[in-house]
């Protein structure tokens, strides 16, 4: 077990090429245990590329990615699978298997990896669905019968199925109405508090960043241009960040409490 605050993901000098074009040029990034890291950057800056590289869907040219103490560049298939079990990924569109019911979607990794009795498997799946705020009856619904918000929740339940230590979220609140998005953020915070997961969240949603993230990393020109708490990132002089936080749509700081600030207020 790694102590709280230790990095669970360590990315060093990562370089990724995409059809002879360098997309990531020396990325250094840490995800610390128990934190929610918000990951922002302009569209096309390579956020998805970095996420997909870390979770192993894209090959990388140079550098190292260390997840939970395993160097993914050198890991054998078996070591890799061991790491796969310890993270959960929530894709932007949910990526639920459309031929399985929600319940079977959640059960899928449990059945493959843990080989529990069918009764326990079902109980755990229902318990996960309830944990993400769904009614148990959703168990029998097919993804095509669910609303966008419900699909995200089922996908989150599936990502949480094996009690992962790291959770990757790809724009979890995109396509949700502001109320559902706020609910989702709240859910994420409770889950992170109760389960102690480290969360890597790609997002564009300023409200969501304010509400949930302990730290924010900003990607631009193939590098991390800024990383730190909300205050640090907001104070940055980088032109993209300035327009991001102080531009037309950056109204958020007026009505959404910053997570860190809220916590200090509560303590005081």
């Amino acid at each position: 077990m790694v102590a709280r605050g230790e990095p669970v993901i360590k990315v060093r000098d990562l370089k990724v090429d995409f059809a002879s074009r360098r997309v990531l040029n020396g990325v250094d990034l840490d995800l610390k245990r128990g934190e929610i890291l918000g990951f922002v950057g302009a569209s096309g800056a390579g956020k998805s590329v970095l996420t997909r590289t870390i979770i192993g869907l894209l090959p990388f040219r140079e550098g190292t990615i260390e997840v939970l103490g395993t160097d993914l560049g050198k890991a054998s298939l078996k070591e890799r699978q061991a790491v796969d079990r310890r993270w959960g990924v929530l894709f932007q569109q949910g990526a639920l298997f459309s031929s399985l019911t929600s319940g079977k979607n959640v059960e899928f990794p449990i059945r493959e990896y843990l080989r529990l009795s069918p009764k326990l498997t079902t109980e755990i799946a229902i318990s996960k669905l309830e944990m993400v705020g769904l009614k148990p009856d959703v168990y029998r619904n097919y993804p095509s019968e669910l609303s966008g918000g419900m699909i995200k929740r089922v996908a989150l339940a599936r990502a949480l199925a094996l009690d992962p230590e790291i959770l990757f979220l790809d724009e979890p609140t995109s396509g949700l109405d502001p109320i559902s998005a706020a609910e989702f953020d709240h859910l994420l915070l409770t889950l992170q508090e109760t389960l102690g997961i480290s969360v890597f969240m790609v997002t564009h949603d300023l409200d969501s960043l304010h509400r949930t993230c302990d730290r924010i990393a900003v990607l631009g020109d193939g590098k991390i241009i800024e990383a730190g708490t909300m205050e640090v990132v907001q104070a940055s002089q980088h032109p993209w960040l300035k327009s991001y936080f102080h531009g037309e749509r950056a109204h958020s700081d007026f009505h959404v409490p910053i997570k860190g600030r809220r916590v200090t207020e509560r303590r005081a």
Binding site: F97, S98, S99, L114, R115, L116, S117, L120, E123, I124, I126, S127, K128, E130, M131, P136, D137, Y139, R140, Y142, P143, S144, L160, L162, D163, T190, E193, T194, L195
Partner: protein, 378 residues
């Protein structure tokens, strides 16, 4: 990390002490479940249960659920179950698991027996009827779209038609030639082999000529096209339906039948006769080649015999069927495509249905034509 354990303490009267220790996590859930089962089975006499979790070193939702399940089993039996000594760090986690209700509404029991069988037969018949209705509907919409395009010719998607023609006609030529060539060769070989016993080798030419031109050429081509292009149409339209592209067209004021279905079906109606002609020629060539090499029938004799045995009518009978079969393949393929629902499974099922139904209907139509031609004496 060693698996968690569960020990039964000394029982005092109607009380039972359970002491859990070690790692209660997902990896060990498999070995923990039997322990839980053993602790709840065959102890009906107890009415006070104390579950001591002080020595649990690691807990996740799996372990928490197993503990919660134990407590629930006892509570449902009317016993008083208590959890003591849960490490404070896991308090939130346990509460989160505990709030779950786990209550699924019971499924309605599916009826079995003769009534259920009758019911399913009935449902199938209704489905067949509704399928037929949908085909006629689709045909009607197609005619409407065709007429409206005739009235406003500039609205016709000519580029789309050419694109589909390239895919269903031009790209299908090699495989059609290969298959029909082989079929022609095989028929000729079999004919020669059997006709030879009563010295009627030469009649092989009649057989190959009539069979290929009247029936086999068009049938083989249609079956190939149903499998090759019909399935592609269904899959294309189906995935467009799934991604709401069809709805997008509709909201922009376009008729999906006119934009998507009409060019596809017209392309088929043009392509299938062309392919049938090519296929017939390839089959005759294959038959002639085998007759020469295997049966020793000289190509000149083959040609002159062919002239005697077939006429324009034989050829026309085969060709006239081609556009009708193309129409039915296209209609079935597009109808199935438009019926695809949200899931990947439904796309697969509809594509299969499309191929099976269009091959079936092609053969049915061939039979109807045979009856018709017999009645008019061709």
């Amino acid at each position: 990390m060693t698996a968690g354990t569960l020990q039964h303490g000394p029982s005092q009267g109607d009380g039972l002490d359970l002491t859990a220790a070690g790692t209660w996590t997902a990896e060990h859930a498999r070995s923990l479940e039997p322990l839980i089962d053993a602790a709840t089975r065959g102890h009906d006499k107890f009415s006070r249960i104390v579950f001591d979790a002080t020595r649990i070193t690691q807990l996740d939702t799996y372990g928490a659920w197993l503990i919660e399940r134990t407590l629930r089993v006892w509570t449902s039996r009317g016993a008083e179950a208590r959890l003591v000594g849960l490490p404070a760090t896991y308090g939130n986690l346990f509460q989160k698991v505990r709030t779950g209700k786990q209550a699924l509404t019971p499924l309605k029991h599916k009826p079995t027996g003769p009534i259920a069988t009758l019911e399913s037969v009935g449902r199938t018949m209704v489905a067949v009827t509704s399928d037929l209705t949908t085909i006629f509907q689709m045909a009607g919409q197609l005619v409407m779209a065709f007429l409206s395009v005739c009235a406003h010719p500039w609205r016709f998607r000519f580029t789309s038609l050419i694109n589909h023609l390239e895919r269903v006609c031009w790209h299908a030529v090699p495989i059609i030639i290969l298959i029909t060539f082989l079929i022609g060769a095989i028929i000729a070989q079999q004919g020669i082999f059997h006709f030879r016993t009563f010295g009627a080798d030469i009649y092989v030419v009649d057989m190959v000529g009539v069979l290929v031109l009247r029936e086999l050429g068009v049938l083989i081509v249609c079956i190939m096209i149903a499998g090759r292009s019909g399935s592609a149409y269904t899959a294309e339209l189906g995935s467009m339906k799934m991604r709401e592209e069809v709805d997008a067209l509709r909201t922009m004021g376009f008729d999906p039948i006119e934009v998507l279905v009409l060019p596809r079906i017209l392309a088929l109606i043009i392509a299938v006769p062309i392919l049938t002609f090519i296929g017939c020629m390839a089959a005759l060539y294959g038959g002639g080649l085998v007759s020469w090499l295997y049966g020793g029938i000289d190509p000149k004799i083959f040609m002159s015999r062919l002239h005697e045995s077939i006429n324009m009518k034989t050829f026309a009978v085969g060709m006239i069927k081609a556009p009708f079969m193309a129409l039915i393949i296209g209609l079935v393929a597009c109808m199935e495509g438009m019926q695809v629902k949200g899931s990947a499974e439904s796309l697969g099922a509809k594509t299969t249905d499309s191929v099976v139904k269009s091959i079936f209907l092609v053969i049915v139509i061939d039979g109807l034509f045979a009856v018709f031609f017999a009645a008019v004496g061709i």
